[in-house]
Amino acid sequence: MTDFNYTLWIFLIPFLVFILLGLAGHRLKARISGLLGTAALGVVTVLSYITAYFYYFRTAGINDVFRKITVFDSTWLHFTDTLEIKMGILLDPISVMMLIVISTVSLMVHIYSLGYMKGEKGFERYYSFLSLFAFSMMGLVVATNIFQMYIFWELVGISSYLLIGFYYQKPEAVRASKKAFIVTRFADLGFLIGILLLSFNTRTFDFSVLTDPQGTAIAHSSGISFLGLSVTTWSMILVYLGGVGKSAMFPFHIWLPDAMEGPTPVSALIHAATMVVAGVYLVARMFPVYFFAAPAALEIVAWIGAFSSLFAAIIACTQTDIKRVLAYSTISQIGYMMLALGVSGYGGHDGLGFMASMFHLFTHAMFKALLFLCAGAIIHAVHSNFMIDMGGLRKYLPLTHLTFLIACLAISGIPPFSGFFSKDEILAAAFHHNKVLFFIEYAVAGITAFYMFRLYFTVFRGEDRHYHTVPHEAPPTMTIPLIILATAAAFSGFIPFSKLVTSDGKAFQTHIEWGIAIPSVLIATTGIGTAYVMYVRNPSLPGRIISIFKHSYKLALNKFYIDEMYLFITKKIIFRYISEPVAWFDRHIVDGTMNALAIVTQVVSFRIREFQSGQLQKYAFFFISGTILLALTLIYLLH
């Protein structure tokens, strides 16, 4: 089992299931296609765990260094002698970790969906899209070269598009899916140009060459500069742009809240746990290039991460749609991960930020998926997305309540839940790098705790709302994943990440820096306390606070009008001021020129036609004058 050839099946199985369900799904019974998809994913999960076991504990750790293992790498598309797209599987600590994350959350979502999506029209379509997503995401993380990553990057984009637009008859869902795809596509443009620039400079797509700290790619990178930054820096910034889009960082975050129009399990899988962290994964994958060749780009990564985390956290405090709160919280948490990468060093303990980022990615996947699945269970129970329709659900949904609470504690960073550990490492890394970033993250930790418990208190405490039917706990297909994920969210903090997933593959020691951890826990507790005061003890307080900070509240509620700005750019600028003039120009100027040519020809020919007047003497006149002129020419001009 150590040659890892079986890893091929990790992404072949979902692909085959996608093809099967896509082509023949409508002939199968809905339940069977669901079970088929789930079973296939179960196999994939088992394979992923086997891979992880053998990778971490059997094969790779020679001299305590995790090697990069290229299981398989074959040419898919040949460009030039040095540039070609290969399809392959690269196993290294981060990709194996991602396999675990994806397969676990995926499996949970598959199982959960059996209950949640029961009776939906297009059940088989749903599972086929989920398989497509699993396939693409697996392909993305095990990519051996940047172009393979781009290919699967696009594929996860399309699966996200298809799944957001699953309820294709709902105009909001259609709009949201379109928006998600186009925004990320725009960011991917940057990614693609970045790849082109990078490959032009380094003559390779291959990660193993690109990210080798002693390799030629990094060594040759400080070439020509443009606007004060080296071309490599520019290309890495552009590549990061792709990550910004996919990970919904500011300013490309606008698609993620809207993406909540998709089915809730999809939000849990794609828009919380896996796809949106692809940007983080991308930076982590290219980390040596960033660190050695483009430190300025890494700085940008850090600042965009920090800003997004603060920005999204503030918005999250004002949202009333339960899923949107979670969406903004996702943005905020991914901002944390980006920040951690941005402040990280390379190798050993210097790579603390890198390790913390991956650690947080892992724990976040667990607790955020859990939060979304819980939200799904709540929505399932009360048939509404809005917090105003919820309250006092603690007694109706005890199990959901418990798991939700665990997730809230985890995300708020309360020990001993997982979020505490990963967040602490991030804060420690930020502290050693830049104090401003560090304090921003402290603030965000507090705000996070506040808005999560605002959510928790409004939904589970407080008074009962008027429910059409008495809310009841979800079926076991839905609760079992909740329990499993809750366990993971609670205890995954104890995984010794610094031994397993590090920037250079070498293990190092970490310890909790209590000087940073205790204040952070205190801040989180303050946040929780504030939420308790505002939403349980004194429910009229929020209204009063809002009326004091009317304008800022309105600003945050409307997400700082970023959406409107985008709408302005697309509707006004692109449609009104570019496309319509182009269309007009084409119809009237370009085509008009062609038509004008035709008209001129016609007019001239009508004129010429008039010579044929039927007037015999005119003909004669022209004939004779012509003869005379000809005679003149022949006699006088040519002699």
Binding site: G614, Q615, L616, Q617
Partner: protein, 105 residues
């Protein structure tokens, strides 16, 4: 009988006659007068033929016969032309050449 008269006199006379005919052809509107202009033109050509024959190649008869045939052809042409004119007159009730213009465009 032509002693003392240079050849060019005949030729110039013919040229004047020819272009007078041309002028007539271009300005006259009545088809019959146009026909008369054509006769002038033909005659001027005849004079040329004969003068050149007499002065330059007196031992040959080409010019003579050419003129003879031209006269014959002119006769035939006049006959046909007048038939045409009469027919045109019948159809259009005019022999004004400017009104006979349906053959256009």
């Amino acid at each position: 009988m032509n002693a003392g008269i240079p050849l060019s006199y005949f030729l110039i006379l013919a040229a004047v006659m020819f272009f007078t005919g041309i002028y007539g052809f271009l300005t006259r509107r009545n088809l019959i007068t146009i026909l008369m202009s054509v006769e002038l033109i033909l005659n001027s050509v005849n004079i040329n033929f004969l003068a050149l024959n007499r002065y330059l190649f007196p031992h040959k008869l080409e010019g003579f016969f050419f003129s003879l045939f031209i006269i014959t052809v002119a006769a035939a042409e006049a006959a046909v032309a007048i038939a045409l004119i009469i027919n045109i007159y019948r159809r259009f009730t005019t022999i004004n050449v400017e009104d006979v213009n349906i053959m256009k465009y």
